[in-house]
């Protein structure tokens, strides 16, 4: 099976073969919800409705049909599993003998001249940089004899501190992706670099006399100092040329807000470490944007409650659509998108930032609960002035952002928790406003003023440009169109030339991170597909450096800037991955103050739009947002990201039109049915996903899907760009949604691997009823009053309640603890595990059958009302039970206990009975139903971690606690004759986690952090009443509610 092309999946045929699942009836769901007790957990609306599909997932190891014969067989001629077995039983005996084949002879190919530092069998780590939307994150790339296999965060880099987000982890797969463009394309045929330089060069020489009239360059957001200098030189030489920028998911409103507030384009960054009270206004600040990894780390450190630290910050989230940030909120208030902005206005009034305050503050609010909350939040912010933080994300309207800047300034937060610095991005001479820049470009193209358009760095305007600009038509009036990118895409199709780009792991370069820190990018491997960097193209075309490499250009740029001994400074910068010693890399606070009247002007503008909103009750606002996994769509071809369940919907391989339950009922929208969205006469069809906790009057559709030309991602999901115009980039008020009645099949993992939760009454012997608490919660106040309340709730069977003899672990005893209090659900751990452990992707059709292979999953639970639930995240790896139920049922002892307490899985012994996964109460075992690992594409072999076996079809697998890392650490300690240094050994999930929510180590050794966590009164085990004695335990989720609002939450 071609795992990288799962879009070939047979979803349509599949849906036809199985009985169509019943439509979800929200009325029934509400009915059932009323019967539930206060904080019972539920997993999804199907769970509440008790649909047969959910019961299947709950009570069975895999859903029905999951173990059917491969669909190729069932589909073509209706051969059932039984018939298939009959047909193959005769050949089975012979097939069995294939296990006795001789190992093929292998060659050893040593180097001719062995490079320095390379020791075969041991990886090297190189500091380099990955960019997302132009902004840098410093990373360490693991290289096995010249092939990068894994990305880790760079502990020295301020945007990483050792952690990564999902995009960093996925970068290695994009690097090797065989669908990347592999040759220069000229008018649909393979071209050569020489011919390209000849043609473009000749055109440029002709235009040089005119000062470069007609030359246009289009890029995304650029923070690279080297490219900035190149572009500056270029525009000096070609004064009439223009450089345009278009970053579809960039900070368009943030720039406008800064311009309005400060009169200059300033960058805003936060220090969550200094904030005691945070108010997030429709903002997923913790898991989105260039600073997210750092923000998560800083924020988590203010929330780490332990028995010796009973302090934590407080987070309020007022949001229209549930976010990862909202899942951690102590108080979460769902409000329709326009009302969140009104909340900002009301807050500004209440704090006296703009007029209209005093006793009347809050009058602008429509929602009764918001009215009650406003004075309490305002008072809390005031009480913590200087250590408070109000954030609205870059998608909020400029007016809202101006008000938020003003609020922070009035509270004295500016300079303490909020910093405004000079812009990190390079701003072209024709202004920072990228929408305006695109408008100019299109106007120039339409007027025939553009002769040469160079689109660099993978910009894809034919897919991403605002729909009202008519970019496609305008582009065709350009004489010479050049596209440079990793993939052939919608845009390259309309270009004369397509130049394959070098991946960032193949490139020399530099970039700035959210705080301005410059880090260098160095290649880990020669370009696999003869890609070129944008720096190279600019140097060759505009600087007449025909044979320039990006190495020389970058080095030459820094030669003049690095102080002291250049060679030493350059080497240090390359080694560290960042340039720390020279002035002006990390940007100092600009010390800018708000322009007088800016806040008042923003408030007046908002009052005007507010009146409009109030005149249209029931108006729907459609939010367009970058997808949490594929961003603006440029990452859509990456299968790891496609198959990574999106934090809120748990959808894979699709985006969806999410609506809240109340609005779904009002507009007669049915879960997983198609609907049509109309805005200003523009129409888009998308399937509906009813998302608990999403506010009434708000719908959301993420960007990045419905790609028309993106290889395996072509046609996945629904394209939202046709709705996106220059008038409204993010929030589309007055959208109309109409149900269409057709079914759509979503592959969501939210019901997969469901555990019997507190929602179920489980009868035990003696008619005892027992409630299983999967997520334990409490408040800080409870904890202060009664530190052991979690311990007293626990039901831990005595060690002798087993027939098996007790085992004593004398040496190491590996264990893990996961702090639910700080887990944001960002899913970095899942993808880090996937990269580390050679976990394959299976495709949408297999996910529908519950066959996804992730060893660690992030379960998302709700409790309470479906319009306003509390949301919890729970990462679930293998529990490595001491009394492991899987071990005792394996007929071939393929899973057995190690003397350090690991529940080992031996692939070469496994015969695939699947008894073990049947018997696993945590449902953490994964079975290779088909040959999911792609062994036929040679380039993908380079991606595999050589320390982990690539599994075959018919083999069970599961989390190993990264046993390859454990063994390596043990071997190193033995060779060097010293103990393993405490806390130095990390699992892949732990290393990637931005919030340090996962710790791993030797629970026999008190020096390890994990031992301290496990001794904490918050520690509990999942389903520990089953006496499995899990080695993975959890720290309960503690919230810090404001006593003044506590009544609001009742049972929460």
């Amino acid at each position: 099976m071609d795992i990288l092309n799962p879009s070939k999946g047979k979803c349509g045929a599949e849906a036809a073969a199985q009985p169509e699942p019943a439509r979800l009836d929200l009325e029934t769901v509400r009915e059932r919800l009323r019967e539930k007790r206060g904080n019972e957990l539920w997993r999804s609306l199907d769970d509440l409705a008790g649909t047969p599909e959910f019961q299947d997932f709950l009570h069975r190891e895999f859903p029905r049909f999951a173990s059917e014969a491969p669909e190729e067989m069932t589909k073509t001629d209706g051969v059932s599993r039984r018939r298939f077995l009959q047909l193959t039983s005769a050949s089975l005996a012979l097939a069995g003998l294939t296990g006795c084949t001789k190992q093929p002879n292998e060659a050893i190919i040593p180097y001719v001249k062995q490079p320095e530092y390379i020791v075969p069998g041991r990886p090297l780590f190189f500091a380099t940089t990955l960019t997302h939307g132009g902004y840098a994150r410093g990373v360490l790339a693991e290289s096995h004899m010249g092939r990068p296999t894994k990305i880790e965060g760079n502990p020295d880099h301020p945007a990483s501190l050792g952690a990564t987000d999902v995009f960093d982890q996925a970068a290695v797969l994009t690097l090797y992706d065989p669908e990347r463009s592999q040759s220069i394309v000229h008018n649909g045929r393979i071209g050569t670099w020489g011919a390209f330089v000849g043609e473009a060069g000749a055109r440029l020489r002709a235009l040089e006399a005119l000062g470069g009239e007609g030359v246009r360059i289009l890029t995304g957001t650029i923070t690279s100092p080297t490219m900035a200098a190149q572009l500056q030189d270029l525009l000096a030489r070609f004064p009439n040329a223009r450089w345009h920028q278009w970053e579809p998911a960039g900070s368009h409103h943030g720039r406008a807000a800064a311009q309005a507030a400060f009169g200059q384009p300033l960058e805003t960054r936060y220090d969550f470490g200094a904030a005691r009270v945070v108010l997030a206004l429709d903002s997923d600040v913790l898991t989105r944007g260039p600073g997210n990894v750092r923000y998560q780390r800083d924020f988590a450190r203010t929330r780490r409650v332990r028995k010796d630290n009973l302090q934590m910050s407080r987070l309020y989230a007022v949001e229209s659509v549930p976010t990862n940030t909202g899942t951690l909120a102590d108080h979460r208030l769902p409000l329709p998108a326009p009302e969140v902005e009104v909340f900002a206005l009301a807050l500004a009034q209440a704090l006296g930032v703009v007029s209209g305050g005093g006793a009347g503050a809050g009058d602008v609010l429509a929602d009764a609960r918001a009215k009650r909350w406003l004075p309490v939040i305002a008072a809390d912010l005031k009480a913590n002035a200087g250590a408070a933080l109000v954030v609205a994300d870059e998608y909020a309207s400029p007016a809202t952002q101006v008000l938020v800047h003003a609020i922070n300034q009035a509270l004295g937060n500016t300079g303490r928790t909020v910093f405004h610095t000079a812009p990190v991005e390079v701003i072209p001479a024709n202004g920072a406003d990228q929408v305006e820049s695109m408008r100019q470009l299109v106007a120039d193209m339409n007027a025939g003023r553009v002769e040469l358009l160079l689109m660099l760095g993978g910009v894809n305007p034919l897919y991403t440009a605002p729909a009202d600009l008519g970019f496609t038509q305008a582009l065709q009036k350009v004489d010479l169109r050049v596209h440079h990118g990793l993939y052939e895409d919608e845009t390259s199709e309309y270009c004369h030339w397509h130049i394959p780009a070098a991946h960032e792991l193949e490139s020399w370069g530099d970039a700035r991170s959210f705080d301005g820190t410059v880090s260098l990018m160095q290649p880990l491997i020669d370009p696999l597909y003869s890609g070129r960097t944008a720096i190279e193209i600019l140097a060759v075309l505009f600087a007449n450096r025909a044979d320039a490499t990006s190495y020389e250009v970058v080095r030459d740029h820094w030669k003049t800037l690095l102080v002291g001994d250049f060679e030493a400074a350059w080497k240090k910068a390359l080694h560290d991955g960042l340039i720390a010693d020279i002035p002006a890399t990390q940007l100092p606070p600009a010390g800018a103050s708000m322009a007088g009247g800016a806040a008042q002007a923003a408030a007046s503008a908002m009052v005007r739009s507010l009146q409009q909103v109030r005149q249209h009750p029931g108006m729907v606002t459609l939010r367009l947002r970058p997808d949490p996994m594929v961003g603006d769509g440029s990452l859509a071809p990456n299968p790891w990201l496609q198959e990574l369940p999106k934090p809120m919907t748990k959808l894979t391989w699709d985006n969806a039109l999410t609506v809240g339950p109340a609005m779904a009922e009002r507009l007669k929208l049915v879960h997983e049915d198609m609907a049509e969205v109309t805005w200003n006469g523009r129409k888009v069809k998308a399937a509906v996903w009813v998302l608990p906790g999403q506010a009434e009057g708000t719908a959301e559709l993420t960007l990045g899907y419905g790609r028309r030309r993106a290889g395996r991602a072509t046609g996945l999901g629904f394209d939202a760009y046709p709705l996106r115009t220059t008038q409204a980039l993010w929030n589309l008020p007055g959208a109309e949604i109409r149900p269409l009645g057709e079914r759509y099949s979503f592959a969501s993992t939210q019901n997969h691997h469901a555990l019997e939760s507190g929602a179920e009454e489980i009868p035990l012997a003696g008619n005892e009823a027992e409630r299983r608490e999967l997520i334990r919660t409490g408040t800080l106040e409870e904890l202060r009053r009664h530190p052991d309340f979690i311990q007293e709730e626990r039901e831990k069977p005595a060690p002798d309640e087993t027939l098996y003899p007790p085992v004593e672990y004398k040496g190491h005893a590996w264990g893990m603890a996961i702090d639910l209090n700080v887990c944001t659900g960002c899913s970095s751990c899942m993808i880090a595990c996937q990269a580390e452990n050679n976990i394959p992707v299976v495709g949408k059709e297999q996910v529908l059958r519950g066959r996804e292979m992730h060893w660690i999953r992030v379960d998302r639970y709700y409790s309470g009302d479906m319009d306003d639930p509390r949301i919890h995240n729970q990462p679930v790896p293998c529990m490595q039970c001491e009394n492991a139920p899987c071990e005792v049922v394996c007929p071939v002892a393929a899973t057995s206990h190690s003397d350090e307490g690991l529940n080992d899985m031996v692939y070469n012994r496994c015969v695939g009975t699947r008894y073990c996964s049947n018997n696993c109460p945590y449902k953490v075992r994964r079975f290779n139903f088909l040959r999911y690992s792609d062994r036929d594409t040679p380039v993908l072999a380079l991606l595999q971690n050589p320390d982990v076996t690539v599994r075959m079809r018919g083999v069970m697998e599961k989390c190993t606690y990264c046993v390859q890392r454990i063994e390596q650490a043990k071997i190193e300690s033995k060779v060097e004759n010293r103990p393993i240094p405490a806390n130095r050994l990390q699992t892949a999930c732990q290393q990637a986690c931005p919030t340090e929510a996962i710790v791993f180590g030797d629970i026999n050794d008190p020096r390890w952090e994990v031992t301290k966590w496990k001794a904490d009164p918050l520690n509990y085990g999942l389903l520990e009443e089953l006496n499995t004695r899990p080695r993975t335990t959890y720290l309960a989720k503690i919230s810090n509610p404001n006593p003044a609002l506590e009544a609001e939450h009742g049972d929460h």
Partner: protein
């Protein structure tokens, strides 16, 4: 009425009795085949691009194992010498030998020499040289007296039972660390003395009997 002939009783008895032998016979064939050098590669000399002689280089010239297998003390993989290592000597001696033509041409063209792997563990087995060397297991314990092999072959079966025979009783082949690379080291002739030395080394080197699956399978 008698459907079956009387002889059926005998045939049935014989065939049930015979089945035991039949199954045992196949089990024996199977286990013999599995342990045969055909399956294990034990004792088979592979065709190498250059008929490299360990007798000449190790016993004759006295070159230490680590001169060529340089990462044996630091990595899982013992290391194969780059062409450059061969040329360190062979740019001075035997510079015109026909036998060394592949070495010279590799060095000149930059195309590596393709050696045939002699000791090849399955891909699901993760053996680490460095830790065995650090714990006082001599090269010869697994690779045999390489200095007496004109053409290299695999001396041990490299099957799991062979690995486990030592992992279950790690004292059996331990030797002083300084003798690890001495292919001709012999334990003391006196069994009691040898036993005492082993016991001492196992204690000094903190040698454990590691038989958990994940010790080798990951």
């Amino acid at each position: 009425m008698q459907i079956f002939h009387r002889s059926t009783n005998t045939i049935a008895k014989v065939s049930i009795f015979g089945a035991v032998f039949f199954i045992a016979f196949f089990a024996w064939i199977f286990s013999t085949l599995l342990r045969s050098s055909y399956a294990t590669g034990q004792g088979i000399v592979r065709n190498q691009p250059i008929p490299f002689s360990h007798v000449h280089h190790v016993a004759g010239m006295g070159i230490d194992c680590r001169y060529c297998h340089s990462s044996v003390e630091t990595s899982s993989f013992a290391g194969m010498p780059p062409t450059e290592t061969c040329m360190n000597c062979h740019r001075q001696i035997w510079t015109n030998a026909d036998m060394l033509e592949p070495v010279r041409s590799s060095f000149a063209t930059g195309v590596p020499i393709q050696w045939q792997r002699v000791h090849d563990l399955p891909d699901f087995v993760y053996f680490n040289h460095s830790v065995h060397v650090a714990k006082g297991i001599g090269c010869a314990s697994c690779h045999g007296q390489v200095d007496r092999m004109p053409l290299l072959y695999q001396e041990a079966s490299l099957q799991m039972e062979w690995c486990l025979s030592c992992h279950r009783d790690p004292g059996r082949f331990v030797r002083p660390k300084e003798e690890v690379f001495n292919l001709n080291w012999q334990p003391p002739a006196d069994p009691q003395e040898a036993q005492a030395l082993r016991a001492k080394l196992v204690k000094d080197y903190k040698i454990q009997s590691l038989t958990s699956c994940s010790t080798c399978h990951r």
